[in-house]
Amino acid sequence: MKVVIINYGSGNIKSIEFAFNRLGVKPYLSNNIDEILAADRVIFPGVGEASSAKHALVKSGLDSLIPGLKQPVLGICLGMQLLCNYTEEGDTMGLGVFNTSVKRFSNKVKVPQMGWNTVENLNSELFESINEGSFFYGVHSYYAEDSGVTIANSNYDKTYASALNFKNFYGVQFHPEKSGQQGSQLLNNFLNIEK
């Protein structure tokens, strides 16, 4: 199986690469349109700031490519947020795949949220063999609002969408590549999704 991690200069993708290696898959890092189109699975990572990440996507033409992909796509962290309509971070328009918006946590809680939080209301094959209340690791100051495309909730400040799905697009706010056994299970589930 050919897994491509979209490489648009966005932070630590080594961990994602190693996580797939541990599952016996060697992913390719690429920003090449033909290579991405030919992949069986596409990982859309992202850490850092939304508007500069969006700028990098536009510059490489990936902003118009990604929403049209037909194979299973997994957005992680900022990657997930950029698949939404809009994010308050840097007043940035997203790629519009997930029909929801991304907002900043209020100052009633420490921002960023950093650490292991539980996931609930699991409603997708992405969470196959993963129990309600399992822990995943994340670091983020912004969250996707709960909506019709939510497939998992978490709570911090309020209930938000910690995982999303629309058609062949999946998104997780947390870092499965850093979430121990559960994270590994989720990545394996993503590989096993039937097209």
């Binding site: 932070g11 996580a19 290696n21 650490g115 690791y137």
Partner: protein, 251 residues
């Protein structure tokens, strides 16, 4: 529910794990990769690697270590020690570090924090602060706790938050290595002054010290080294006890 984090710290010196008492008298505590794998297995929530030789000596071995750690463990880890430039951070992140911690370099050049944040994002920039309390005043120290700065802990914490740091790793030098508990009053004060997560460091000796850091100190995470390395506190047992006390932990 977000849980409190338990973080073993691996002080690295020439590729080995060491732990000093009051930052002096280094003792050998083992192979960092073996320790990292073991900690990930027993339920550590994160790991911190501090290259304590780095500010003064070479740090190239750290980069090689970082890549090996990233390959073998599936929980997040932070690397600190001897980081002076944006390039240093880029190298560490590209080698698989999830977060980096800066200390002396941020004191010498606070703008570095802002530069790192704009380039890599707040989420991976931890500012480590070593402070010593004398006459009820917490003063910030640099260069591995050897040089005083005349900066006040709380003022400096507010500054690093303003510059965009995602987290503060606060080491109370008075407590470090004493096993008499964390500096809970200072921790509590820090959490009041800033709105980013605080990692408590320095003074862990028994399980109650951890619950105190969370309940009295309001810390978001607690870090320790020797009590974990020498097996004095078992992380699984620690987390089980914390849960019994009603503290949210990942089990």
């Amino acid at each position: 529910m977000l849980t409190k984090r338990i973080i073993p710290c691996l002080d690295i010196h020439n590729g080995r794990t060491v732990k000093g008492v009051n930052f002096k008298n280094l003792k050998d505590a083992g192979d960092p990769i073996a320790l990292a794998k073991m900690y990930a297995k027993v339920g550590a929530d994160e790991l911190v690697f501090l290259d304590i030789s780095a500010t003064i000596e070479q740090r190239q071995t750290t980069l090689n270590l970082v890549l090996k750690i990233a390959e073998h463990i599936d929980i997040p880890f932070t690397v600190g020690g001897g980081i002076n430039t944006v390039k240093d951070v880029e190298l560490l992140l590209n080698n698989g570090a999830d977060k980096i911690a800066i200390n002396s370099a941020a004191i010498n050049n606070p703008q570095l924090i802002a530069d790192l944040v704009s380039r890599f994002g707040s989420q991976c920039i931890t500012v480590a602060i070593d402070a010593y309390c004398e006459n009820d005043k917490w003063e910030v120290y640099k260069n591995g706790g050897t040089v005083s700065t005349s900066k006040n802990l709380f003022e400096w914490a507010k500054t690093v938050e303003k510059l965009g740091a995602g987290e503060i790793l606060f080491t109370a030098m008075n407590n470090d290595g004493t096993k008499k508990g964390f500096a809970n009053q200072a921790l509590f004060q820090l959490s009041k002054e800033v709105n980013i997560p605080i990692i408590a460091s320095g003074g862990a000796g028994n399980i109650d010290h951890f619950s105190d850091a969370f309940e009295k100190g309001n810390a978001d995470a607690a870090l320790a080294a020797s009590v974990f390395h020498y097996g004095e506190i078992n992380i699984q047992k620690l987390k089980y006890k914390l849960k019994q006390k009603g503290i949210a932990v990942r089990l």
